[in-house]
């Protein structure tokens, strides 16, 4: 098994799927000749040609619309939104067309499209290059949403998304591209959509999260171990549909739960996770359900102190975890 960066795992998944199935193609802004602004699609143009690594105009609505149409016609497009911040012009296509076509056509049509979009801040990107739009799409039945944290899951979930019969939004964290690495099998495997994963076993507190902030959680858990606090960490991996059984099982282990994500707190994925726990597990809770999320500020500040304030880091996470453990 090779150790590789998060971004390489994503690229490998696309390469393998394109080799496996001729109907798979990528499209997006600069994904072809340039190989993507983050180099995510690098080499695909050379290997598969311009018709399978398609450079599009700067029009996200068109990228999504073309991909949705191609998917309904039997192709397996992987549409890239250069930054998830640019995804909103395509929101109507995604929510009103892709998500609903199976229902609307009484099962006659389906839309096996994958839409990849880099989320998250921490790259001095400010307003237009840092957003986490999960909550915009989260409450839309008909969409599946995945947000991998480990490179292993990044590859396995992307391959599962390509093979899924329905639209999947694939939120990759741009800060994680080269920061997170790990072992990734070089053979064919998928990570089932809808299944969470226990990253660490523990019995004092349960931390539930997804994507990049889990790195801080893992680091903090390591350090808190020295203080005698043992943390149980659950990586949701799939946001829609949430793995309810895994969430409840993880919370049942400790009775104390902290939910963490970078997207802002109000109306985020954590709110739904929290509601599920409150609905199902009231009598097994030992502390109030806690959340640590981005602040309800309109946008990621571009100035470094502001960005630092906005973003989670190991220390913020550690403090929240300790407070919960001490409760």
């Amino acid at each position: 098994m090779a150790v590789m960066d998060y971004i390489d795992a994503i690229r490998l998944a696309m390469k393998e799927e394109m080799e496996r199935d001729e109907d798979v193609f990528v499209l997006g802004e600069d994904v072809g000749v340039k190989g993507g602004v983050f180099t995510t699609t690098k080499g695909l143009h050379e290997q598969f040609g311009e018709y399978r690594a398609l450079d599009t105009p700067l029009a996200e609505s068109a990228i999504a619309g073309v991909a949705i149409g191609a998917a309904m016609y039997g192709m397996k497009p992987i549409a890239e939104m250069q930054y998830s911040d640019f995804m909103f012009p395509a929101t109507n296509q995604i929510i009103s067309e892709a998500a609903k076509i199976r229902y609307r056509s009484n099962n006659d049509w389906s839309c096996p499209v994958v839409i990849r979009a880099p989320i998250g801040g921490g790259i001095f990107g400010g307003l237009y290059h840092s957003q986490c739009p999960e909550s915009v799409f989260f409450g839309t039945p008909g969409l599946k949403i995945v947000a991998p944290y480990r490179p292993y899951d990044a590859k396995g979930l992307l391959k599962a998304a390509v093979r899924d019969e329905d639209p999947v939004l694939y939120f990759e964290n741009k800060k994680a591209y080269r920061l997170i690495n790990g072992e990734v099998p070089e053979d064919d495997y998928i990570v089932e959509i809808g299944k969470a994963n226990v990253l660490r076993e523990g019995d004092d507190i349960t931390v539930i999260g997804y994507s990049m902030p889990l790195r801080f959680v893992e680091q903090a858990a390591e350090e808190l171990q020295q203080e005698g606090i043992s943390a149980h960490i659950l990586d949701l991996r799939t946001l829609q549909p949430l793995d309810k059984e895994a969430i409840l099982e993880a919370v049942r282990k400790t009775g104390k739960v902290l939910i963490i994500h970078e997207d802002n707190k109000t109306g985020g994925v954590g709110a739904e996770v929290s509601a599920i726990i409150a609905e199902e597990l009231l009598y097994e809770l030992d502390a109030p359900i806690m959340r640590l999320c981005g602040p309800d500020v309109p946008a990621m500040p571009i100035n470094p102190p502001g960005e630092k304030f906005f973003l989670l880091n190991k220390d913020k996470v550690k403090e929240a975890m300790r407070n919960l453990a001490l409760y």
Partner: protein, 440 residues
Amino acid sequence: MNKSIMEIVVPQLAESLVNATIDKWLKQPGDMVDIYEPICEIVTDKVNAELPSTVSGKLVKILVGNGETVPVGTPVCLIETESAEASMPQQAPQAPSVNAGASVQPAASTLLSEDAPMRGRFSPAVQQLAAEHGVRLADVPGTGLGGRITRKDVLAYVASGAHKNNAAHAAPAAPASMDPVVQVRSSGIHLSETPRIPKIEIESAAPGRGETFIDVTPIRNTIARNMRQSVSEIPHAWTMIEVDVTNLVILRNKLKDEFMKREGINLTYLAFLLKAVVNAIKDFPIMNSTWAVDKIIVKRDINISLAVGTEDSVLTPVIKNADHKNVAGLAKEIDELARKTREGKLTLSDMQGGTFTVNNTGSFGSILSYPIINYPQAAILTFESIVKRPVVINDMIAVRSMANLCLSLDHRILDGVICGRFLQRVKDNLESFTIESKLY
């Protein structure tokens, strides 16, 4: 003046940059550095750059050597400054350690005391565990915030076996108001997602056996209402005539293939019949009228309602101004309306304004029918099956193609004489089609 040590860290030089390699140190320990003066060269995936000092002072220690790769934010060297306000690298205040074993210590049963304000607040998990194991919570030491008894405190207490000793003198094992018999809900809407299907009551089998109930659809209801209104208000009379359509059959057989080729639709007998009926109505306009109690309204436009049956209903779409159309035009109109009816695409305007109804009952094999007038019109005519029959012509028997035309009439408006003449005119019109007749 205070001397203090500052750390210089690897800065974030570009988007998505996470680590950097020290290429070469430009300063050595003991060297003085000015603020913004380069202290080393660094190499990253994206850029190579000189790393400037963020303070001025004396370089005291290099933490990362040449060629080493470290994450962004890692201190690479320490610089001693003389600034009074610069501070030592912050030592994080040591957090109070959570000792997992502490709870086992048989702490004196501290009930609500001033330094333990949370002592009497029990979480649902604690209450449930206490009830389950028969633990008296007053005996359990609390290690949580404000002396709160945590779930783990109860588990540790149970594991220590202390509660069994207490059980001897403290028989009632219900410290909190939890009833251990009540099953805690461990499933709910999120676990059992199958949507509830509304339960439909089936009529009990015993008395109504052999009967089923069919809901009356809106269209069925409309048909029922119109039919009842027609038969209860209109005094119906009925008459029938026999028509020799042998020549028409020959004519149609001659034209139908070419018509199909040219127009893409069937040339039906009905089109010829409509032409014959419309021309007869022109001669007897009273057929095209409505009873209005103190007067009879004769309609100038001849709009033929055409009865079109479907599996479960019958509709009467209208051919407007049928007298302006030739046989080919009528055939097209019939085809169009029949198609729209079958596909359920009739519009309101297709259904309005009829003045006389024709029903092609022959299409389902009938040779005789007694139609109900399409209220409020004055008459309805049916076109029955064309059948070959022996017929006496000039005292000789011939095999001819014969069809019956039946007419129901509103006897308030029409009488036998006028209807007889009308039918006779229809018959003449039909029989006057010859092999030479033109469609257009």
